[in-house]
Symmetry: C2
Subunit: 525 residues, 2 copies
């Protein structure tokens, strides 16, 4: 089901109940770009630490926009031994909500945009009809804005700011506005002597409106309802109405309800994420670290500096995560599955020893035709990801005695895969552990090598040709990690390099220490 700004409000209860009834959820995001750095490979060094990788992704990927969010809910039908699914494709766009709302800027990467375009992605749906959103801080700010405005027009004021004019009463009206305000007071006084119920003032500036509110609250604390309205040309003007106390309260209430509605509209798509979060259900994704980071960044809060803080936030937003790419590259699947891109994974999970799960689309939901691939539409990718999870989970059931054909998402069997997010292209750390400390692999067979920028990989192979198999992880034009096959070779390599002029070799430990020192000295300046 496609969800845009147009049908968002009407679809929300359908989304909520789909989440409520589900056994697990699968998600996927499409972004306006992946990497703002020099190139993807420089951002994903094979010997990054989890901290480094997190910092790189945070720095170079968060300015892109998550503009399509796919959600597929999976509900197991015990009687029929099949899953019933509901798929949602949300189009997301930070349409400025009002004149004071943040005017979000986001980066587009042409290769990503071009790729999505070639897949038939509908950019018009995003930009014309995308659902807006606010993160938690923006939501609070907007709520406070409403409250402040309310208390201002209630006359209860907010005296917390210091300004030479903040003392109440007409004394605080600047010279050049006194005449204008005087005329407004006259108009209101004459309103009380006629049978007219309301008077519309001419459009005026925000500062004048503020003066009017202050003055009328002070001079006519009761009997008036004052409200800012907009003309067709979007000019703001004040309407003043004579009201008795009850009428005044009724209007206040109405206004409050209208404001609550506006607030909900502005929070928009974030409400779906709140619902997923509150459900506490297993959320499945494929290679989902960036999806998780973007989701938190856009709909919850600016990502924390520290990896451990990020893990904490993640556990609040997504208490139970499962990454199918990590699962597929872990025992017992590792031996059975060669290629773990989503499309290839799905293909391999259709073959023995795996069994494609029985899945039907819920009534009234458009169903995907898996024969005719729609990969890279977020909803479809979420759906395929869910299928892959079920096939792998059920395969685990074949090891039980007696074997079980259906493994539910709460089973102990899948626990080893929970809250571990796949780390792309790191040689010796397969995953980011969201619910605990990360693996600390030994890196004492690793050398840090610096050299002239004319060098190629082949030069490094040549340099280390005496040491048998090596593995090169480029850092930048003039440095790389070289992993030797035997730790004992490290000292030999370093000794040989002593008198070299064109290149320099350090142990990994020396490298880490050096970097630490640089950081500390930067921290101190």
């Amino acid at each position: 089901m496609e969800v845009t700004r147009t049908n968002f409000k009407d679809s929300l209860s359908t989304v909520y109940s789909a989440i409520d009834e589900a056994d697990f959820l699968a998600i996927d995001g499409e972004f306006s770009g992946i990497s703002d750095g020099p190139n993807v490979s420089a951002l994903t060094n094979g010997l990054d630490t989890p901290e480094e990788r997190y910092m790189k992704l945070k720095k170079h990927s968060m300015d892109f926009l998550l503009f399509q969010f796919g959600l597929c809910t999976f509900t197991y039908d015990q009687a029929e031994s099949k899953y019933v699914i509901k798929t949602f494709n949300f189009y997301i766009f930070p349409k400025p909500f009002n004149r004071t709302s943040p005017d979000i800027k986001f980066i587009c990467q042409s290769s990503s945009i071009d790729f999505l375009a070639s897949q038939g992605f509908d950019f018009n749906k995003v930009f014309r009809h995308g659902i807006p959103y606010l993160n938690q801080e923006e939501e609070v700010q907007l709520r406070e804005q409403y409250e402040e405005r309310r208390s201002q027009s209630n006359g209860s004021g907010n005296p917390s700011y210091i300004s030479p004019n903040s003392n109440k009463g007409p004394g605080s009206i600047p010279e050049e506005h006194r005449e204008y305000i005087g005329r407004v007071i006259e108009k209101v006084e004459s309103l009380f002597t006629t049978s007219e119920k309301t008077v519309d003032l001419e459009p005026c500036t925000g500062f004048q409106r503020k003066l009017i509110y202050q003055t009328l609250n002070w001079k006519f604390p009761k009997g008036l309802h004052v409200e800012t309205l907009e003309t067709e040309k979007k000019e703001r003007y004040i309407q003043i109405s004579k009201v008795d106390d009850e009428e005044r309260k009724r209007r206040e209430r109405q206004k409050q309800e209208r404001e609550q509605e506006e607030l909900n509209d502005a929070v928009g798509f974030s409400r779906v994420i709140h619902a997923i979060s509150k459900s506490g259900k297993l959320v499945v994704g494929h290679n989902m670290l960036l999806d998780v980071m973007h989701t938190i960044h856009q709909f919850y809060c600016v990502l924390p500096e520290d990896l451990n803080d990020f893990k904490e936030v993640t556990q609040c937003v997504f208490p139970r995560l499962l990454d199918t790419k990590l699962m597929a590259t872990t025992q017992p699947f590792k031996e059975l599955i060669n290629i773990t891109s989503l499309a290839e994974l799905q293909k391999q999970l259709k073959e023995s020893p795996f069994k494609p799960p029985k899945v039907v689309t819920a009534e009234d939901f458009p169903s995907y035709d898996t024969a005719q691939e729609q990969l890279h539409e977020a909803g479809y990718d979420a759906y395929i990801t869910g299928l892959c999870f079920i096939a792998m989970a059920n395969y685990l059931g074949t090891f039980l005695t007696p074997p079980k054909a259906h493994i539910p998402s709460r089973s102990k069997l899948i626990e080893p895969f929970v809250n571990k997010l796949f780390l792309m292209r790191i040689i010796d750390i397969p995953y980011l552990n969201i619910s605990g400390p990360d693996l600390q692999p030994k890196r004492d067979h690793v050398l840090y090598v610096t050299f002239p920028k004319e060098w190629k990989t082949s030069d490094l192979y040549q340099l280390f040709s005496a040491f048998g198999n090596i593995q090169v992880s480029w850092i930048d034009d003039t440095s790389a990690f070289v992993s030797l096959s035997q730790t004992e070779q490290v000292q030999i390599a370093i000794n040989t390099s002593r008198y070299a002029e064109s290149y320099r070799i350090q142990t990994y430990a020396e490298y880490v220490q050096g970097r630490q020192q640089v950081r500390e000295s930067q921290g101190h300046t």
Copy 2:
């Protein structure tokens, strides 16, 4: 006429001849955003110097994408006393050209995108079918890439890079690739003994391909044509063909032509700008500084740091510019025209004393219905801009004796308006003078005031209430320029401020000097 990647090549001759035959050209651009700064008004201080304004626009506006370019050519038909127009709407997108081409990132500003969306802008046309482009430097680089590849496969090599392996011959093949290259040589040798004409190698890495090219050129300097092709899966492999000398040359030529074609495709939309530039014709725009900056930035070169260098580049790219907003705010139009936004300007120029010009659309070009406005489509805006120019130019003809109804774009009468670009919201400098030094208004009635961030405009009015009319130009939260109506008041204001604690006043001259010092000290560290 809409021009996308799909019909660009076929339309190019139409575009070229429209430019060639035209009397003048009107242009307009649509961007993915306007200002990347805190807010537009902070970027456009009323007392910016031209240098400051240029630097701000360069810093905060050039990362957006010019993604629609409107061109309207106007050709005067003497016999019929009317203009014949041709309108083009180009959709522009930096689709990566090949695997090594730059992966452009650009910023989108949600308010701008939302605005264009509300006008029915078709983002799919941009992102799916936009015409690519290269600036001059990228064009040169790509040409060099082709030439290097050609000389490499010619065996003439490029020995300029220093690498331990750069000596020629099989000696430079790294250990682990020797066996592989040996097998390739065997294959080629056996090709010479059979009747087969070509042999396809397995897909291999770029490094291996390079080794193959080197080795074959060295071992078989004649009699072979070696070429890299792509499989359907986009894997690159080498095809080797036996050829006599003539056949070999023919193939080289073919390849060269194919490459020239590819190069042209990559230069793409920039060719249109080159043609406009070469024509030397008058180019008319409305409030066109940003259009000019973006056009140069995307299709010519990274904008220079220095304003004078920018003026020089601009004169190369657009030798004759005219800004209708500047024209409309200058004598004798200033008195006659109240509002100078494009839509309002057009309306006013339909009324006496102006005469709407006689304009027809050229055959085979879709015509705009001016009744049904399509403002903010670049082609339409360019068209309207041209209409405004004609109406104003012809009005100048009414002052001649005898009056002239048609003033051509080369007339002396419009010379005073040429190469002066409107400067938005600068109080005392109406335009940026592209072909000379800028105006240097006196600013000795201006004060630079700093204060606590709680202050509002009204606090400033209050502070200076003794001095009559003042004009406030906000710089940021805690500073503003205050223009007094009389220069003599400046010293009084400064004297009064001596003992103030919450605010501070400097003359404009002191402010400029202080800033100069800050800059110099920064330049020295």
